[in-house]
Assembly symmetry: C2
Homo-oligomer: 374 residues x 2
């Protein structure tokens, strides 16, 4: 069921079949380097999120640059990473259900694997699963620091759960998972900072409360690409879990920096390559990339180098480009690069990355954990 690659190494870019998922390798490597340098300078551990790229190869490139390991959301993603040579994986998410727990504990015999918890019964289940295969598993207590999704409340509920984890024979209390997901996309930087400062305060109080009760939070993890630079300066976090920085996307490009400019620390390195497949009118054309080729949940893609051309009205296999303001004609068969609205769900639609440098295909990397849902 995996698809054939849409290109061959050495092909000129124009020869890549569409839709295809392109990586601009220069921009991508700059992004890897920038985040690695930032974390090194700030004295923070970097554990990039593999939910974005789902690639064991990219994970290894991140570890080559100093990442301490990877994190991910699903047991099946962790399996793909470990099979692909990543020795240290944190599932920054809850794992619930017998089959998943069996797989999690089995995997923990082959690599350093940790998981998050926000429920007392789940902690007992984790302990039983670990005990069954004779491993001691690291467990983070997830606290809800404002996103309102998973996680126990900071403070006493977190203390109670951490104490329970610490009391299990086959579990080790590893620290806190304190990620504020929705803060990543707050446009104004001062408001974004306020959300993270508030999260930091709750988290620090919880760290202190746990310390007062003899529970050491060795790792306090969190942060995404939208707030990576706000988890510094004496805040509680010591391990960042950013994912999207490797690629960027149109939605993160709508965040603002302190001076009001668009967020541009990281470069757009991921593109959906698409073809004009129907051109029956001068003022618009149809391209071969719709909902099955693009994650549109955070807005439609932008057309690279053609800001006056807008994408709209996607259906499953088609998108429409409004050419009424276009300064450059687009004709049948022309190929364009789209900056995806949201990189993570876009990547999940493809079997292959096509790595491009200097106008030629240099790499074909499988999207190892594409469709890793369970």
């Amino acid at each position: 069921m995996a698809q054939a690659a849409p290109a061959r190494i050495g092909d000129p870019l124009e020869d890549v079949d569409t839709p295809a998922l392109l990586i601009d390798l220069d921009a991508f490597e700059r992004n890897l380097d920038r985040m690695a340098a930032f974390c090194a300078e700030a004295g923070l551990r970097l554990r990039p999120h593999a939910k974005t790229h789902k690639s064991a190869h990219i994970a290894r490139l991140q570890m080559d640059r100093g990442a301490v390991g990877l994190c991910c959301q699903k047991v099946s993603e962790a399996e793909a990473l470990v099979q692909g040579g990543v020795p240290d994986v944190v599932i920054s998410n809850q794992v619930v259900g017998r089959h998943k727990l069996d797989r999690l504990s089995a995997l923990a015999r082959h690599a350093k694997v940790a998981v998050c918890a926000d429920d007392a019964d789940n902690v007992f289940d984790l302990n039983a699963a670990a005990g069954q295969v004779g491993v001691v598993m690291d467990v983070f207590v997830e606290i809800d620091v404002g996103a309102g999704r998973c996680g126990v409340q900071p403070g006493k509920p977190a203390l109670a759960l951490a104490a329970q984890v610490a009391g299990q024979r086959n579990l080790r209390f590893a620290g806190l998972q304190a990620y504020h997901g929705s803060a990543q996309h707050i446009r104004d930087r001062a408001e974004r900072k306020a959300a993270i400062d508030a999260a930091g305060e709750m988290t620090s109080e919880t760290v202190d409360l746990l310390a007062d009760n003899g529970l050491d939070c060795a790792i306090v993890a969190g942060a995404g690409t939208g707030t990576y630079d706000l988890h510094v300066n004496g805040g509680p976090w010591n391990e960042l879990q950013c994912g999207s920085y490797v690629f960027m996307d149109a939605d993160y490009g709508r965040n603002l920096m302190a001076d009001g400019r668009a967020f541009d620390t990281f470069d757009n390195a991921l593109f959906v390559y698409a073809t004009v497949m129907s051109k029956t009118r001068d003022d618009r054309c149809v391209i071969d990339a719709g909902h099955k080729a693009l994650g549109n949940d955070q807005g439609f893609p932008q057309v690279l180098d053609l800001p006056e051309v807008t994408y709209s009205g996607p259906s499953d296999e088609h998108g429409t480009l409004d050419l009424s303001e276009a300064r450059q004609a687009l004709k049948l068969g022309d190929k364009i690069k789209l900056i995806p609205g949201h990189c993570d769900p876009t990547v999940n639609l493809y079997d292959w990355y096509v790595g491009v440098r200097d106008g030629r295909v240099e790499a074909l990397w499988p999207v190892t954990a594409r469709g890793a849902l369970t």
Copy 2:
């Protein structure tokens, strides 16, 4: 990169790992039978759309019930269908670009393959590609009957293109592709009928114009699940291309019948099975199905049998259920069935169908053309 199946045949339903794509086999078979019976009675050819199910196995079940062949949107889907035993495939879409044309003509040596065109240059390219491998390929002229996507205008532009097709040595003019995509989702039945009647009028006039010029439209194709029953009674269509009827979805369930009831000719046969993975508050819970498990472009899923529970706020791997009105408690680890908002892009996220009957897994079918983008 294909994922392991989330179940084993014989497993009780509750044992299926999540998220998983379930088919209620009884409902699914009823849907297949109902559409087959409708077309037989109406004297219409049925060529179901494989863009919905992307499964060679389901395609064969449809042909067993009288379908004349399948249609699809992509060359790669056609390749998967032919490799899976389907001998007759129409690509109800334009095929543009050298690699795709090479693949299309190569495939035409192994099965009956047809394609749509809406551009004169593309017709020359199709002819050249067919000639290169020594096949004569059927080409439909696509006309825009109101959807405003692909297709030439009805009438004289269609005549000109059809005459061009007919004049090519390696092409055969097969008829008209006259599909009104956006009409499928018009809620009010009278308005839906008006859109299809208008499309029918344009199409009939074009058929007559072509006949006056010696061009026979052997096949006039179109229709989707939302309008399948409106392409009858002397209208121009003789081949229906419905796809979603095999599964239904929440969006089609918002269409109305003539008497104002919800459209219920076909039963919901496709579900995303999901698990409650976080339950830290009484009034809501988090399930393990977000954007990577559900096509949400036509609205969020409904929770089967729990209409008072609403799904909201999906992120990539999570969805939230509002339980404030729930009449039945949901606890950590409980599994629920979601009716997807839109079946086609949902199916495309999975490697496996899990066919269920009488509470047990009876079939595991690969989603053969999952991710078939090119």
